[in-house]
């Protein structure tokens, strides 16, 4: 069975050809984006190790993501996550006025590698912040 290929035009990267094997299904969408269900994860050479979560339904929408352990090596998301099968990444926000980069450590995006599904979960504990500043220290 041939792999479905989709062409999308993204804001950041222009035209991309996406294979079905790259698509993650987000049944609940993302918080604030309930109607977006199909995403791909894009690597772009100059912004590695960041990745971009691009919406297939609205390819102008893309979220910069980063592995939380790049920010806090002792990050412990807790028992609700199965780190053998699930990859966690956090959403990065840039605050241009202050030149700050912050990460939402409290509501990571979870990718299930086997099922090709994704979801965003808010941790119940107050241990982590929605606005963790990323600095050189």
């Amino acid at each position: 069975m041939p792999n479905r290929k989709i062409e999308i035009t993204t804001l950041q990267f222009g035209d991309l050809e996406v294979g079905e094997e790259h698509i993650f299904n987000f049944e609940q969408g993302l918080l604030g984006f309930d109607d977006l269900h199909e995403f791909v994860l894009v690597s772009e050479e100059e912004t590695i190790p960041f990745k971009w979560l691009i919406s297939l339904e609205e390819p102008e929408i893309g979220f910069p993501l980063l592995s939380p352990w790049h920010i806090d090596l002792s990050y412990e998301p807790g028992r609700d996550f199965n780190l053998d099968r699930e990859v966690l990444m956090v959403v990065i926000t840039l605050e241009d006025e202050k030149g700050l980069m912050t990460a939402n450590m409290k509501a990571p995006i979870i990718f299930d590698i086997e099922k090709q599904t994704g979801r965003q979960v808010i941790m119940t504990s107050d241990r982590y912040s929605t606005n963790q500043v990323i600095s050189t220290k």
Partner: protein, 103 residues
Amino acid sequence: MLVLSRKIGEVVTVGSSVKVTVLSFDRGIVRLGIEAPKSIPVHRKEVYDKIIELNRQASKTDLSSLKTAMSKVGLKFRNQVNEGKVAPSLKFSVKKQNIEEEK
């Protein structure tokens, strides 16, 4: 909005699986106990709203802004060596192809 009055210790049910109990009221602060299945997330509204706002802001990020921000943070990411805990390289990421490469 449905408005109900409850005394301390009384319960409100939402659907068949959510129960909200008024635990205490002291100096203007109400403590609520909420029982809900794991499939139904329960959070303070302002946390929820904050995350929606952060997602919205992030969704508009363009490539050059991220590059600029990365250069300000410096070499921090390049020097990360700790392979064990870093997310495994995701084989399902789509690499941006150089136009030259395709030709």
